[in-house]
C-alpha cells in the first residue's frame, strides 16, 4: 500500500491552502480532487473579496485562486485530478478511484477532508423543468464555461450567493427579472443587494415560487407572497416571464467521507446542518482526520482558506514538522484572522456556532493542541 504523510481530499480553497501550509512545513502531501482542474469553486468567484489586506481583500477570487495554485506548484505538491475518494476506513486508509479506472488504496498519517458543500434544492410544481438549476450551477456555466444558461432569470434566495450570482448574470449579459426571498428581510450583504437593485432588478421579500411553467423548459414562473406562517396570501400571485430559475437556497456540508470514516457529528443549523465535530485546530474525533472549509460549516472562501491553513499547520505539527511553540503562535495568528472574518452583523452567528462546536470537543481555546 502506498503511503503519504498527509492526504488531502478536495482541491478547493480549503484543500489547496491546507496543502500549501502542510507542504511548507515539510510534509509529504498528496492532494486529490474528483474534478479535472483544481481550485474548486474559487475560479468562478470573479468578484473582489471582502476582508482586510491579510485576507487578500479587494482581490478577485479567480486571482486568489491563481496565486494559490502557483504556491502549490512551486512547492511541487503531488496532485491527483479526476480521482474520486470513495471511502476512508481504519482511520487512515483512503480508497481512491484514480482517473475513473484504477482503484488505489493509500495510507495517510494524516487525512484532511475538504470536500466542501452542495446546494440545497427547494421544491415547487415544475421544479424539475430544464431551466431550474442551482445558482452555483449557473455561476459555473457563466464564469467557467462562458455559457449563458438563459436570458431572463429569476433568482430564488437573497443570501450572498443569490445576490452575487444575480450580479454576475447581469455582467454576463442576462436579464434578472427579480430576486425573491421567502423571509421578510433580504439575507445578503446590503452592498451586494444595492448594486443589483441599482441595475434595475426588483426584490420581492416574503415571496416564494408557486409554480414554474413551460413545455420543454421554464417559460414563466408564478410567485406568491407568504404570510408570517409561510402560507400563500390569496390574490398576491404574480406571473413573471423567465426562462431560467436559479436556486440560491443554502448549502449543505458534504460530510459523507467524514462520517464513513467514523467522525462524530454535531448539528448546527447556522452552519448548514450536520457537520463533523472538530476543535479549533480543525481536528475531528478521529485522531488522524482533520477537516477544513464548508464541510466543517458553510461559510465563505475566505474563511475556508484560513481553515485550510489551520488544518495544514496543525496536521504538520501533530506529525512533528512544526515545533509546538511555533505552531501555537502561527495557530493563534490564523485564529485571529478567522475571528476577524467572523465578526460583525453577519459573522457573529457563525463565530458563536463554531465556538459551541469547539467547546463540545472540550478544548475551545488554543489551536495548537
Amino acid at each position: 500500500m502506498e503511503k503519504r504523510e498527509v492526504i488531502i481530499v478536495g482541491a478547493g480553497p480549503a484543500g489547496l491552502s491546507a496543502a500549501v501550509e502542510a507542504a511548507t512545513a515539510g510534509c509529504g502531501v498528496l492532494l486529490i480532487d474528483e474534478n479535472s482542474k483544481p481550485g474548486g469553486q474559487l475560479f468562478k468567484q470573479i468578484h473582489k473579496f471582502f476582508g482586510s489586506q491579510e485576507h487578500k481583500a479587494g482581490i478577485r477570487g479567480i486571482d486568489i485562486g491563481k496565486r494559490l495554485l502557483e504556491e502549490a506548484e512551486n512547492l511541487h505538491i503531488e496532485v491527483w485530478l479526476d480521482s474520486e475518494v470513495c471511502g476512508i476506513f481504519d482511520a487512515n486508509k483512503v480508497w481512491v478511484v484514480r482517473n475513473k479506472k484504477e482503484t488505489v488504496l493509500l495510507q495517510g498519517d494524516r487525512i484532511i477532508i475538504a470536500t466542501g458543500a452542495s446546494e440545497n434544492a427547494v421544491h415547487f410544481p415544475g421544479w424539475h423543468l430544464p431551466g431550474v438549476m442551482g445558482a452555483g450551477a449557473a455561476q459555473t456555466m457563466i464564469n467557467i464555461h462562458r455559457v449563458l444558461p438563459g436570458e431572463k432569470v429569476l433568482m430564488v434566495g437573497s443570501g450572498n450567493v443569490g445576490v452575487i450570482v444575480s450580479y454576475q448574470l447581469l455582467q454576463a449579459g442576462a436579464e434578472v427579472v427579480g430576486v425573491i426571498e421567502a423571509a421578510p428581510r433580504l439575507g445578503g450583504y446590503g452592498v451586494h443587494t444595492a448594486k443589483v437593485r441599482r441595475a434595475g432588478v426588483p426584490f420581492f421579500v416574503s415571496h416564494v415560487v408557486a409554480a414554474a411553467e413551460g413545455k420543454d423548459r421554464v417559460e414563466k414562473v408564478r410567485i406568491v407572497q407568504v404570510d408570517p406562517r409561510w402560507n400563500p396570501v390569496p390574490g398576491t400571485e404574480k406571473t413573471l416571464k423567465a426562462d431560467t430559475i436559479c436556486l440560491a437556497t443554502g448549502l449543505t456540508p458534504l460530510t459523507e467521507l467524514a462520517f464513513l470514516a467514523g467522525c462524530e457529528s454535531t448539528y448546527s443549523p447556522v452552519l448548514g446542518g450536520h457537520v463533523p465535530w472538530h476543535n479549533s485546530a480543525m481536528r475531528t474525533s478521529v485522531r488522524h482526520i482533520f477537516i477544513a472549509g464548508d464541510i466543517s460549516g458553510v461559510e465563505e472562501a475566505s474563511t475556508a482558506m484560513e481553515e485550510g491553513r489551520m488544518a495544514g499547520l496543525q496536521a504538520a505539527a501533530s506529525l512533528g514538522h512544526v515545533d509546538e511553540a511555533d505552531a501555537m503562535i502561527r495557530g493563534k495568528a490564523i485564529q485571529a484572522r478567522l475571528d476577524a472574518l467572523r465578526s460583525g452583523l453577519f459573522g457573529e452567528k457563525r463565530k458563536n456556532a463554531k465556538e459551541s462546536i469547539f467547546s463540545a470537543m472540550g478544548n475551545s481555546n488554543n489551536g495548537a493542541r
Partner: protein, 111 residues
C-alpha cells in the same frame, strides 16, 4: 442560452479562445470548446433537454452542475447515464438524448 463572447471581467472569448472541436448530438454535428463539459457545450448550442424520464417522458436538464444530482445524464459514446456536467467533451464524441435509464450502444471498445 448562448456563448458569452464579451465579458467585463473575463475579457473577450477570442482572447481566451480554446480549440473548437466537433461533436455529434442526436446525429447533428455541433461545435464545442475543447476541455469544456458536455453540458456547457449543449447549452451553448441552445439545447436544454438532456434526457426524458422513463414513464412520463418528462424533460430534464442541468440542475446541480457538480455531478451529484444526475439529472443531466445522457448516452455518451454508447454509454448511458454519463453525467454531462462533469464529463469533458472530446473530439467526435457521440452524444444522445437519453430516455429512461438509457440503452447501451456502440461504445467503440470503451466501457
Amino acid at each position: 442560452m448562448r456563448r458569452i463572447e464579451h465579458h467585463p471581467i473575463l475579457g473577450d472569448l477570442a482572447e481566451t479562445s480554446e480549440e473548437r472541436i466537433p461533436i455529434t448530438v442526436d446525429g447533428k454535428t455541433l461545435y464545442a470548446r475543447k476541455g469544456e463539459m458536455i453540458a456547457a457545450a449543449l447549452m451553448a448550442n441552445g439545447i436544454s433537454v438532456f434526457r426524458k424520464t422513463e414513464k412520463k417522458k418528462s424533460p430534464r436538464g442541468i440542475f446541480c452542475g457538480i455531478g451529484r444530482c444526475t439529472d443531466c445524464v445522457m448516452i455518451v459514446n454508447g454509454i448511458p447515464n454519463v453525467r454531462t456536467c462533469v464529463t469533458p467533451v472530446e473530439e467526435n464524441m457521440i452524444i444522445r438524448t437519453q430516455e429512461g435509464s438509457g440503452e447501451w450502444g456502440d461504445t467503440g471498445g470503451k466501457t
